[in-house]
Amino acid sequence: QWDEPRVCSRRYLKVDFADIGWNEWIISPKSFDAYYCAGACEFPMPKIVRPSNHATIQSIVRAVGIVPGIPEPCCVPDKMNSLGVLFLDENRNAVLKVYPNMSVETCACR
């Protein structure tokens, strides 16, 4: 954990469908690399966190402290990948669906 970067970045998360109770009807994959975003979006934000213009302004306002209660911008998924899932429907027929935004490719401060 101490090696985890403090700045907003993508972290590893493997999701096993059995852990969330979906394995009864999901045939494949049994698990996938979902990743997640975590970390600070502190002023000054480096380019690597790909801040939106709004996030840049928000972080400045927060750093200056002129408006109380303004939080840091959020560290959220920026680019995401789809995932094909083969599962059984209610009638136990096999269905293949390609779900968008299932795993994180990059994170950003927004």
Binding site: G21, W22, E24, W25, I26, I27, S28, P29, K30, S31, F32, D33, G69, L83, G84, V85, L86, F87, L88, D89, E90, N91, R92, N93, A94, V95, L96, K97, V98, Y99, P100, M102
Partner: protein, 337 residues
């Protein structure tokens, strides 16, 4: 036509299934998950489509959804009729193409000729025994309305030439499926009529026909779309607002998608109410009901699902209700949703 692959051909599928997205599963495992009838063509076909998507990243059939439908065999007038229940298709799924996959038996006459006519015995008696070309196959589709037991509306018929050997074939039935769906008749029957009085014993289950529907689900880009088809336990079980109720304690772990509404909607709260500035939130917690007009104030605190259901029925039957007074059609639609 396409040949029916055997399970020995699945090592190629294994490579796709054991890619970086899924390092734990072999095709055998996946087939086992498909159930006891897994070693049939539809299971193999779906696994191959999945493998192909994982390998190439190209959406299957140009859309984002492929649904398979297994046949249920029934003998009607001593002839096999295959029934398909297509009702699991979602309204948001726009059908791109649909195909009927079936196994064509080889015609029976070549065997008879082989018996009576040796390769070089082309005498007159042998020629007399040759019964001529085999009869054409007729593939007939009918749709059935869910509430009727009648044979159903003829949706399409096509004549096929039997292949010289047993062979899996596919026929485009996009127009048939689209028309059946448009008319709301999603119970479909298919009959392979050989013209013979006694078509013989039905095919083994591994040769059962199936339908594949390639579709583009327009709702898949909606937020939380994965929950619609994959999250099958009730996120708000019956006792969620009752003291001592455990989360996710619904008796039926696989509830219909109708239960997958967001909490604000279940609470009859206006979406976005929580987005007001922070100081206002505190006041909102105590005076939430003041945002509502008078008819909603009459609503009593939430009750359990069963009670709510009973209450709905009461509301429906009692025309004098002061809370909601929808007509029957609207209520039925609401319940379905």
């Amino acid at each position: 036509g396409h040949r029916g692959p055997s399970w020995s051909s699945l090592p190629s599928a294994a490579a796709g299934l054991q890619g970086d997205r899924d390092s734990q599963q072999s095709p055998g495992d996946a087939a086992a998950a498909l159930g006891p009838g897994a070693q049939d063509m539809v299971a193999i076909h779906m696994l191959r489509l999945y493998e192909k998507y994982n390998r190439r990243g190209a959406p299957p059939g140009g859309g984002n959804t492929v649904r398979s439908f297994r046949a249920r065999l029934e003998m009607i007038d001593q002839k096999p009729v295959y029934f398909f229940n297509l009702t699991s298709m979602q309204d948001s799924e726009m059908i791109l193409t649909a195909a009927f996959h079936f196994y064509s038996e080889p015609p029976r006459w070549p065997r008879a000729r082989e018996v009576f006519c040796k390769p070089r015995a082309k005498n007159a008696s042998c020629r007399l025994l040759t019964p001529g070309l085999p009869a054409r196959l007729h593939l007939i589709f009918r749709s059935l309305s869910q509430n009727t037991a009648t044979q159903g509306l003829l949706r399409g018929a096509m004549a096929l030439t039997p292949p010289p050997r047993g062979l899996w074939q596919a026929k485009d039935i996009s127009s048939i499926i689209k028309a059946a769906r448009r008319d709301g008749e999603l119970l479909l029957s298919a009959q392979l009529d050989t013209g013979e009085k006694d078509p013989g014993v039905p095919r083994p289950s591994s040769h059962m026909p199936y339908i594949l529907v390639y579709a583009n689900d327009l709702a898949i880009s909606e937020p939380n779309s994965v929950a619609v088809s994959l999250q099958r336990y009730d996120p708000f079980p019956a006792g969620d607002f009752e003291p001592g109720a455990a989360p996710n304690s619904s008796a039926d772990p696989r509830v219909r998608r109708a239960a997958q509404v967001s909490k604000p909607l279940q609470d009859n709260e206006l979406p976005g109410l929580d987005e007001r500035p922070a100081p206002a939130l505190h006041a909102q917690n105590f005076h939430k009901h003041e945002f509502w007009s008078s008819p909603f104030r009459a609503l009593k605190p939430r009750t359990g699902r069963k009670d709510r259901k009973k209450k709905d029925q009461d509301t429906f039957t009692a025309a004098s209700s002061q809370v909601l007074d929808f007509d029957e059609k609207t209520m039925q639609k609401a319940r379905r949703r």
